[in-house]
């Protein structure tokens, strides 16, 4: 299953490192990353492959939220299907 991770918050050192470390430790492969910073506001979207992950979707979503909380940004994991459904005919 593919997932979309969105990360939003004030920019600081190590946001990508912390999120990616969590993903690596849990066997989640990153397929694509797009990231910008506008007026100090960090905005990242990642597409990931969750098939190598042993945790449930819920555990992973909660784990990523915890990572975000620890560094003061909001991390959200969603299944890719919702975006495909909405934007692709």
């Amino acid at each position: 299953m593919k997932g979309i991770i969105t990360v939003l918050g004030q920019d600081r050192v190590g946001i990508i490192a912390r999120v990616c470390t969590y993903l690596a430790e849990h066997g989640i492969n990153i397929l694509d990353i797009s990231q910008t910073i506008v007026h100090g506001y960090f905005n990242m979207v990642m597409m990931v492959d969750l098939s190598g992950n042993k945790d449930s979707f819920e555990q992973t979503a909660a784990g990523l939220e915890d990572v975000g909380r620890a560094i003061g940004v909001r991390v959200k994991l969603q299944r890719e299907d919702i975006f495909d459904a909405m934007h692709r005919v």
Partner: protein, 452 residues
């Protein structure tokens, strides 16, 4: 790959514009629970509902988490009890309502619909017993919703039933006067009721349906309003295109959720009801859409046209987004559940008469409207007759969910709490219609030709 902008747009719709899936409603047939003994019947329906919908809430919540979109309500609709329970021969069906209430509580849904009768042409003894027990059933239960279909374009209007509806609405208001006459908010009178509507209080599982079915109601007035804000001042072509595009996107999410719920619950997918259903939250309002279109207040001249445009383009956008569209599908205009409608009624912009005109082109009818508690039963029947006539002549579903708030006068507020919101008591025309309502009998169906 999906672009960052598309991902942001979806999440903005959810987080800032209150886009949600309003309800996953499981329809459950109770026809196979028929029994001559009402206690046995009650036991059978309790067992069937709790086993069919046991995991509905957990699955709904889990889907919501995975897609990152709130699924606000999980609900159940059952076969009209006047049909399912007819074999019991009971004189009072209130014990059935209590059983439905317990079953709904056991599986954790907030409403269960189907304490209903279809009497557009006439009543069986079971229909009569059910209708007579509605005030007791709704005032003594928390989660049960009732509806009665009293008219159709094919059969005309059962005016004996219309007369009786006025009486039972007054009775329900009296029995629950300490709670803002709340029972009336759980009761709908229909013309052309649909069998697959997932929205309460009018949901029931039609006899033409399968044993179990998943119907999903999507919402999202906030997302439509936001899109229109970006098209400010544009002409009607752009306005309509904007509504259509947004409705398409909203409905696609509903379709995805419905298919996922159907697969996980192993229950066939029925329909998507693509309705714009407001909530009392600011930014989740149909009234705000009308104002964004350019009306100073809902109720101003131009409102009926605006509602017609909105309703039609929601359908046009949604139809392509889903394999099966059904239910009521359009724009709801409940007064108490929409802060913009409440304000319009309070400032005198929105009257009952204008609301009635809007119901000619909206998806349902007079919905969650509070009127003075001393409004005579026959006057309430007159309001119902008007709404039923609109539905019958125009081949559309119309409904009346009206609350004669006991002890309240024009301008007072009635609090219902939660999604039901609060309603300002609106003025009703003070001239009577008693002799008209007391005639009784049935209005024959209209011509289906010569449409002018």
């Amino acid at each position: 790959m999906i672009s960052r902008f598309e991902i942001q747009e979806t999440n903005r719709m959810i987080e800032e514009s209150n886009l949600d899936v309003r309800t996953i409603t499981m329809g459950v047939s109770l026809l196979d629970c028929a029994d001559a003994d009402i206690d046995v019947f009650c036991r059978k329906i309790y067992d069937k509902i709790t086993s069919a919908a046991g995991s509905l809430v957990a699955v709904g919540d889990d889907i919501g988490r995975q897609f990152g979109i709130p699924i606000v309500n999980k609900r159940i609709a059952v076969t009209p009890i006047a049909i399912a329970a007819a074999g019991t021969g009971a004189a009072n069906y209130a014990p059935v309502a209590h059983t439905l209430d317990r079953a709904a509580a056991a599986v954790g849904v907030n409403f269960i619909g189907g304490y209903s009768a279809l009497i557009h042409k006439g009543s069986t003894p079971a229909d009569k017993a059910l209708v007579d027990s509605i005030p007791e059933a709704l005032s003594g239960t928390e989660r049960v919703c009732a509806s009665v279909n009293v008219g159709s374009s094919r059969a005309g209007i059962n005016m004996n039933a219309v007369r009786r509806m006025g009486e039972i609405i007054r009775e329900m208001a009296r029995l629950t006067r300490a709670r803002g006459s709340l029972a009336c908010a759980k009761f709908v009178v229909f013309c052309n009721a649909v069998e697959d509507n997932p929205f309460m209080a009018g949901a029931f599982h039609g006899v033409g349906e399968r044993d179990r079915v998943i119907n999903v109601g999507v919402s999202g007035p906030g997302a439509v309003k936001r899109a229109l804000t970006e098209a400010k001042g544009a002409d009607f072509e752009t306005l309509c295109e904007t509504v259509k595009r947004t409705a398409f996107k909203i409905t696609r999410v509903g379709q995805l959720v419905a298919q996922e719920a159907s697969r996980r619950l192993n229950v066939p997918f029925g329909i998507i009801d693509l309705s714009l259903a407001p909530t009392p939250t600011v930014g989740d309002s149909v009234a705000e859409i009308l104002m964004e279109m350019g009306l100073e207040q809902p109720g101003a001249p131009g409102t009926t046209a605006a509602v017609a445009i909105l309703n039609d383009n929601v359908k046009k956008g949604g139809v392509m987004a889903s394999s099966y569209v059904g239910g009521l599908s359009g724009a709801f205009i409940p007064v108490s559940e929409d802060h913009g409608m409440i304000e319009a009624a309070q400032c005198g912009a929105l009257t009952l008469e204008k609301l009635e005109a809007m119901t000619c082109v909206c998806s349902v009818g007079l919905d969650m409207v509070a009127i003075p508690g001393d409004t005579p039963a026959e006057t309430i029947s007159g309001l119902i007759a008007d709404e039923m006539a609109i539905g019958m002549i125009n081949h559309k579903t119309t409904a009346v969910r009206i609350i004669p708030a006991a002890g309240k006068r024009v301008g007072d507020m009635v609090e219902f709490g939660g999604l039901l919101g609060s309603a300002p008591v609106m003025a009703v025309n003070r001239f009577g219609c008693g002799p008209f309502i007391r005639r009784g009998g049935r209005v024959p169906p209209p011509l289906h030709s010569f449409k002018n």
